[in-house]
């Protein structure tokens, strides 16, 4: 058995504004949960799968990894430290703020929304992490495929500019890349691409700034079996 990379996607290669692309691809029910932090990983996962829908979505695993770690949405006032001042903001959060703003802040939001949109029902997780984390999700995804827990795995890395990493979701525009991994049944045994991905990921991680940088290096190093590069 060997692993193939069947499709890749990188928002850096797409000249269209990401927000417009996403809004053109999904319903208002989904897009209202998306903002600057989540447009890119959402688009990367969806585009990668649509470029190579090798397996039904219920058998697709999705792993996302990113350095963005969003803070709470901007509040209408600041606390002066007194109980009354805290209570004023608390009451705003409880009774006036839009809960969707809070849900957008959750780092697993892109994974959740694209799973609902595409029907991905396989194993899934989001890691908040740096360059090392990419090799971890590659290993877990490869194990899922080998054990039959999934038939196809989409791996997405995304990040924002270093200065925006702690910003609320609305002020943290991200870039993203993705790859689609499948397991050959043995009839077309070729070079095992997971081994090559690990080699690149482990070589690049110590000097990289983000998991996204490492994934981009991986994408440059592996051939795409179906030629589905978007």
């Amino acid at each position: 058995m060997s692993y193939r990379v069947n499709a890749v996607f990188d928002t850096a290669t797409d000249p269209a504004p990401i927000r417009d692309r996403v809004r053109g691809l999904t319903s208002r029910k989904i897009s209202r949960f998306l903002d600057a932090a989540s447009f890119a990983p959402f688009l990367a996962a969806m585009s990668c799968y649509r470029a190579d829908p090798a397996q039904p979505p219920e058998h697709v695993a999705l792993y996302t990894v990113g350095g963005w770690d969003g803070n709470m949405p901007d509040q209408p006032s600041q606390s002066d430290g007194s109980p009354d001042s805290d209570a004023l903001i608390s009451r705003h959060i409880l009774e006036e703020a839009n809960p969707v703003d809070w849900l957008r802040m959750l780092s697993n939001n892109p994974l959740c929304q694209v799973s609902i949109a595409e029907g991905f029902r396989g194993p899934n997780a989001h890691l908040v992490g740096g360059p090392d984390a990419l090799a971890q999700v590659l290993a877990v995804a490869a194990t899922d495929l080998r054990r039959g827990a999934a038939r196809q795995a989409i791996i997405v890395a995304y990040d924002t500019d270093r200065a925006d990493r702690g910003n609320p979701s609305g002020r943290a525009p991200t870039s993203a890349a993705a790859l689609s991994l499948v397991l050959d049944d043995g009839e077309n045994d070729g070079e095992d691409m997971v081994s090559r991905l690990f080699d690149v990921a482990e070589e690049m991680a110590p000097g990289a700034d983000s998991a996204l940088d490492v994934l981009r290096a991986c994408l440059a190093a592996v051939p795409v079996a179906s030629g589905a590069t978007t």
Binding site: N71, N108, G166
Partner: protein, 396 residues
Amino acid sequence: MADRVVVTGIGAVTPGGWSVADTWDTVVAGRSGVRPVERFTTFASSSRVAGMVPGRETGPLPAHSLSVEYGEHAAREALAMAGLTARSDVERAENLPAPVDLAIVANHGERRLPTATSDGRVIGVRQIAARIAELADARTSSAPYGACAGSAQAIGMAKRLIEAGRADVVLAGGCDALVTPFDFFSFSSLYVMSTRDCPPEQASCPFDARRDGFVLAEGAAFLVLESWTHAVARGARALARLAGFGLRQNAYHMFAPPPDGLGPANAMRDALRDAELTVTDVDHINAHGTSTKDNDSSETLAIREVFGGHADAVPVTSNKSQLGHTMGACGAIEAVLSIQSLRTGLMPPTSNLDQPDPLCDLDCIPGQAREGELRYVLSNSFGFGGHSASLVLGAA
């Protein structure tokens, strides 16, 4: 064939106490760690109670991170039990191997309200994971952000990485301290927390007809997981075996559980398949059991779907009935308590189960803890974002 994965250390800080033993005594006795919130002002339209770690339930919120405080304490207990110690400076200089390959630390960061001089962030997700990794002298760290399934994801990922030969020893678990105004009232604004007018200790009542939401709580738990071969080679004692892990996405809603129970059912099936077991091998289920209307009925449906006729023969408990819902830590806390069940042959009760809901018609251990010969325990954790995770833990 992949090496099997064993647990050689456990640690916990919960509303039941500052150790595994204190937490275990609390849940087995059916005592509650839920208290009125005194840290900040609550409102008539919000929840007013929370599961609080003893000694941290009174006074205003401290400036330091409670997540880190709880996490470091629980990690220390787990590492000590496993007999793992950080390298000395000399050993580091000599480049001796780190005692832990990786720390996987589920958490959601920690925030206070913004002031003129602060954006409110106490510490970020990655920084919390890095602090725990530093304590464990781990080579690296990562942080699953999987809401209430996060630390079950962490434990399951550790299993996968050990099986793949990419790690020998992993410290995995979670820590969360979200009883803060921002998180408390954000959850409240979604109407997912209990606002029932009752004594605090009765507010969390999983599988009961009166349940109306979860009780937010704080805590941490960690497991030291390692390959059987590695544990034997260094003379470590296995407390339990992590036999199976299943992880699925509901693809249904950001925070509502699927009414058909499909994601949770698939996670349980995958965990059993991973463990190469059938439903009759499972003697006890440690349920997610949040005390929300939707979760408990959906989980019951999923258990019935997977276990079929055997469902009535498997006692089910919810530790959240005593501890409340510790969010990113709950999967690890409940895994620790499942291991304690395997070690002692005791199944903790589901407290406050006085009016069983006909939609939750499993044997949910009302009243008192129950004895049994336990071979395998299934532990469920489901989270915001549609994550459904199940662990199968076996006797050592």
